[in-house]
Symmetry: D2
């Protein structure tokens, strides 16, 4: 998700910004530009580079834009849910895009339908558009009122013909940062790596409960909520974000490395010869683990970069015969050695089991699995991809049971407090908060409504 | 390039094998299978996963196959040059594919045209087919005779309905290895990473001047040349091969790491705080450098994985404005630090200059560039992608001039002997040989014919 | 536009029905099916055969459906305007599609926006959805109320999970017919040729101002308007409809033939040797003209069927050099002969001029142009593709001036009364009405609102 | 098949020429241009408009070209057989394309393989290239020698960098005409309709056994065979060619009309009310029948133009339910009438049966089927699409049996002599010859080699 205000080549810059954010969503992409009067839209399914051709770029005229990449695989009537959305109403054109998960969306939609709203999509953007319609005053006032309906994690970008608005949820679960161009324009993005991509400088993060307006007169700010917390999603640090991004001024790579170091303290592997990481998201923590443990960091696994939509998956027969497609082991590195294998997290456990089997088959003497996230014992209702107890191995098994199932010689997870310490947000935001850890602890930041959970 | 003999799902296995070799060629892909009597072919432009659909796989019947991925961007009449080739003649069907560069191909083609041959492509495969046609006896005898015409670097895979043949040039410049399936079938491939992909075990490498036949009776071998050398292309170790491949039993990742260590000895950077590598091919040497220098290895750069054919390149204006698409720096890692930046090689020098500018802009105090290849002072006529003096910065400038041009605080290249030592082939093949180092030293392994060089 | 109620293979039948209606719109296609509870949608740009694959057909479950093909080239945000639309509201799911042109759409949209509606498209379907939202009672009552807002020409298909609704404007400008399957299901379509395609039998036409409900209990009918007229669009008979369709029980081919005969009486060509028609839409009238005039009907022109989206249009230079792509003359047929050339209508006159030049170049002695439509002197605001005086040659020139410009030896148009007589609706609906002839006479059926015209 | 010599926009002209010939082959298309020194090629599968984009057109530089459209659905290794072919040999570059069927191709290929030739395709173009290789002298002499090897029907276009060569078989079974541009260039094409498309004038036809050279000095001609006949394929007149083409100066539409008239004499239908034709290829004969019989010609059937590659064919169940996709009946025209239905030919009889069923279902009182070709009792080995007795209903059944099977009230075929008379070639070429009628009479023009037939 990216918003750009007052830049000459705004469609191109949005394209390169979304390209830098591509890891956050590979299913669809879209850009709406505003020329100050009219808005122009193009969106479609696929990677940024496939959705946009030069022809479409040329049609996206203007100096302001919002853009979006989506990761949800959208089942039916796909094209309809691709963001951003462009709405026309008495107030003129309005473009909206959105990340996160609003836990009371069904309640809001039911309320709005009772009040007479008609929906064409299942999107939170359309929800916001309808809520805004029920409010009065300038857009800031209206956003302040509308956002108060919503509970859960969210970040919104709203564009009027001559202004951008940005807001995140009052618990600060979704990241959103503001950057500046040297020539006076602004950019907001879900990750700071997009600023590097477009040649802008980081200014600050959007605060929980804050709503900002970026217009010709610069940035103005207000709060739609008073009781706010800083509960950034732990998984942003653990695996969503790119290592070159900073989240609230903490670099992601460095936080992962520090978590690796904490993990080395909490779960040492005294017999180990080397440390290897699972590419790509386990590598940073592995470097930290190795450094802290005084063990050599080695490249023990290689990832094939060429898997994509049209790839033909091997049959079960071929898998059993040993066909590998995504990750492979450097046998010479692990042969006869006791290996610490660092990964970012364990959800179902199947990947871990496969990796350990591959290492053992390649001659590894021992495999000590170390995980740079705590055990995920609870589903996420705020936007991470595991939404039921069913799919979580840690919800159903003890650490020892998991170790046995995945075939590791030892298994260690970072503790929740170790994660906190490793990321290091506590120093900034105070001891009590700093992270949403609901998936580790079950302490959800909000009421859960229809998603209420039964074990 | 892959060949598979006597396997049930031979089209699928070829697909996964070629997928593992995709880094060696992304322009086109093809597979020919043999059912013992008739051959079946499918080939096309693009990545393996785009060229083949399940429908084509189903048509590729049989138990034997050869397959190919091509990296050359083929200008005109593209489709015609896509490998493998399938030939029909009095002797029946024959499939051929090929890597490398035959330096006397024009001379051979002129000779054959004078003798009455007609060519539809510019391929060395068609050259071999015509040479074979002029010989008599069984295929082994005929290959022995035909291959003696050819000078340069090459590896050939030839398939008759019930046998595979494989040969490399007599100087051993191109790698080719043999693997075995547990159920008795065989696989040959340009890189051993393909064996892991298809679930086969490494057996041995094809030797310089050797020609092998794989048939129902197993493997038989013969030599088409007596005076052979082991002059494996240095660039295979330096950047072509995947780190999980072994070339003549030397693991590529480990050889790169050792070169990094040699480089740390030869070109220390006493004031440096950290070592970072250019992703992906500079990372292994950077790990080795850091370990040998006793400096921390850090992730200082991140590569965007999503660039592909349809990507819209930024205009010059946008580049100058700071738009970045492929590599980005983790500013927090390099800020205020003196950085050793390890890359695999320098060809034109433009990439190095850009990277150093990015690091300096991100706040790096000093950048000490270290290159895990010697200076490339001469073009390659054996298949590597620089074929003129014009494009080689080291052919035109001293090390100090290059340092200045790329903006490094210091610049060091590994020595040719250091490279030898790092890779470690000398121990296996004797002191005098082990590598083609023509691009560093100008000592070409063969006569150069029409490609004869003037500085 | 097609709606099908209670049929087993409803997605397939919709596909074949839309395929039969493809001549009415080649830009986009879409189908919504209902399984009695939920609705399923697929739509996209292109021909029916390109928008739908078997995979999408399989997802379109249910026994009821509405489908649409669109002819308007939709500029920006194309995908958004593709029909049908699927709306979710308190009342459940609702699918809508639409043909024609509502002349007060801007007024209605402005009114609804003032009342708080938000629009995502420019479609009349979304307009109807919002109007319906403001009404109460069952769907029949609500449609009766909502349709009264709308002026202009229209036909609507509305689907609730277990019922279809169909209505046309109160002046009956758009055709819509009802058919029946032998096994009890129903079909409604813009043209009866779709009934043949799906194996259904014609029952009757939808009447002006009528709204019908097709449900499990069969068909029920009501009127939303009392003062209705029968002003079927003349152009439906003249060139929109397929010759095998019947509009209000009058066969299109036969009506065209009769018009040709009337034209032969009104504008004889005494010196003519043969009669030829412009393929395809001038052929029927040419047969009628020839028969009435006692002249031989000949095939004097051939149409190339293979022009499509990706066709490269010739440059002006090549056109002048004589390159022809779409129509060509059978020289042997016209050489030395005096030819009557019958076409359906003249809009700009450029096609006529080109055809006559081609005939003369091929050796025709004389060309007597006869047009089976009256002179089009006024734009259409009800959906036909000429919406300004600017583009109409007959709005700016006398018949004699046009004759001279197109290079005909003589030129004759059918009279308005001749057209009436030829089509033959007067016998059914009484003398005063039967056709919308606004584009010939300037007598528009409705107030014109923002489209109000100045010559 | 088209060849153009000495024209400025030769790629574009080839494109428009092939587009005019598209009805002769919809499976693949290709163009080779020559700039006087080098040749440039582009070819691919699909319609002309899909194979070529402006980018490819721009690459096809030069003033001379040959181009081809192919109708054969080519099974395996499709891309390899797409024409034209471009060959490189000692003599330089040579481009070849070809139509027809050479009955001794296997014998020639076996001979050439014994002599050492290697084949990459199954094409007759490659056969000719290898034969040419074995000859000496200038290209005219070499073609004269090479073409004498070949028996069967053929037309060849051969391009050297600065000359075009064209030849047809010595029995003149394939048509090929020569045209002239006003500015001095030449065009040769399989059908004269291509001349109109590119703005050229017809000059004359290529004669049986003739070989022509078109070069800077104009056209020179020679004969490779002395004993020649004029046995033009009857099917060219009956249904291959476009009605606006002339074959040996006889217009195809007019010949079809005359055949219709002959058929009306030979097989009158005294009780008939109207005459209708099967679109498109039965229409011309229907017009002729109607005129000769004094009956009204009517449009009784309409063809859907939108069927193409991706069309989803209806299931058997849906067909039985009455789903129709390709042809539909105008019920009002045939209701209660006795109809003469004229079609171009009967091969299997299934289409005829379906059409008659449709007409009867639509209310036709009687259907009198009249066929403008004689009974096809023998397969064609010269290029027409029926190559076995198995598929020919007339090879297995009497006229009366066929009538019963297709459900006609009466059935009449034109006689062989009637066809001759209708087409009218006898007047030009003498009584005994003028047509290949092998499929009607079994009198093949050549020895049949491996295709020798057993009933």
């Amino acid at each position: 998700m990216i918003g750009i205000f007052n830049q000459k080549n705004v469609a191109e810059l949005s394209y390169y910004g979304l390209h830098a954010l591509q890891h956050r969503g590979q299913e669809s992409a879209g850009i709406v530009t505003s020329d100050g009067h009219r808005m122009h839209i193009h969106k479609g399914e696929g990677l940024v580079r496939n959705v946009f051709s030069q022809m479409e770029m040329d049609r996206l005229k203007g100096a302001h834009a919002i853009g979006h990449v989506n990761y949800a695989s959208i089942a039916e009537s796909e094209a309809l849910n691709v963001q951003p959305f462009l709405f026309k109403s008495a107030g003129g054109e309005l473009a909206i895009c959105h990340n996160g998960n609003i836990v009371n969306s069904k309640e809001i939609q039911a309320f709005l339908e009772r009040e007479g709203s008609i929906f064409q999509t299942n999107s939170n953007g359309e929800l916001l558009a309808h809520l805004l319609k029920r409010t009065r005053g300038d857009m800031m006032s209206r956003l302040k009122e509308a956002l108060n309906y919503m509970e859960g994690s969210f970040s919104f970008l709203v564009m009027e013909p001559d202004a951008l608005y940005v807001a995140i949820d009052k618990d600060g679960m979704r990241p959103m940062s503001i950057g500046e161009f040297t020539n006076g324009g602004y950019v907001v993005a879900a990750e700071t790596c997009a600023f590097d991509a477009v040649g802008a400088k980081y200014v600050r993060d959007v605060l929980p409960g804050e709503v900002l307006r970026i217009g010709a007169a610069g940035i103005t700010t207000d709060n739609y909520a008073k009781l706010t917390r800083h509960l950034m999603c732990s998984m942003e640090y653990i695996y969503f974000a790119r290592p070159d991004s900073d989240i609230e001024e903490i670099n992601v790579y460095e936080s992962r490395k520090r978590c690796g170091a904490v993990l080395a303290k909490e779960s040492p592997a005294p017999t180990a010869d080397i440390v290897i990481g699972v590419p790509d998201s386990g590598l940073s923590a592995a470097i930290g683990y190795a450094e802290a443990a005084g063990l050599p960091f080695e490249t023990g696994m290689v990832k094939n970069r060429y898997i994509g939509r049209t790839f033909i998956e091997p049959t079960q027969e071929l898998r059993e015969q040993g066909v590998k497609m995504k990750l492979s082991v450097i046998a010479k590195v692990v042969q006869g050695r006791s290996v610490v294998l660092v990964d970012d997290s364990i959800v179902r456990g199947t990947t871990s089991r496969n990796l350990i089997t591959m290492l053992k088959n390649a001659g590894a003497k021992e495999v000590h699995m170390r995980i740079a996230a705590p055990e995920i014992k609870h589903p996420c209702f705020y936007g991470v991809d595991y939404s039921s107890y069913e799919e979580l191995i840690s919800a159903k098994h003890t650490t020892e049971e998991i170790r046995e199932r995945i075939g590791a010689d030892s298994l260690g997870f970072i503790s929740v407090s170790g994660l906190m310490k490793g990321v290091g947000r506590a120093e900034k935001f105070g001891k009590k908060c700093g992270h949403c850890t609901a998936c580790f602890t079950g302490e959800y930041a909000t009421h859960l409504y229809n998603d209420e959970v039964t074990t």
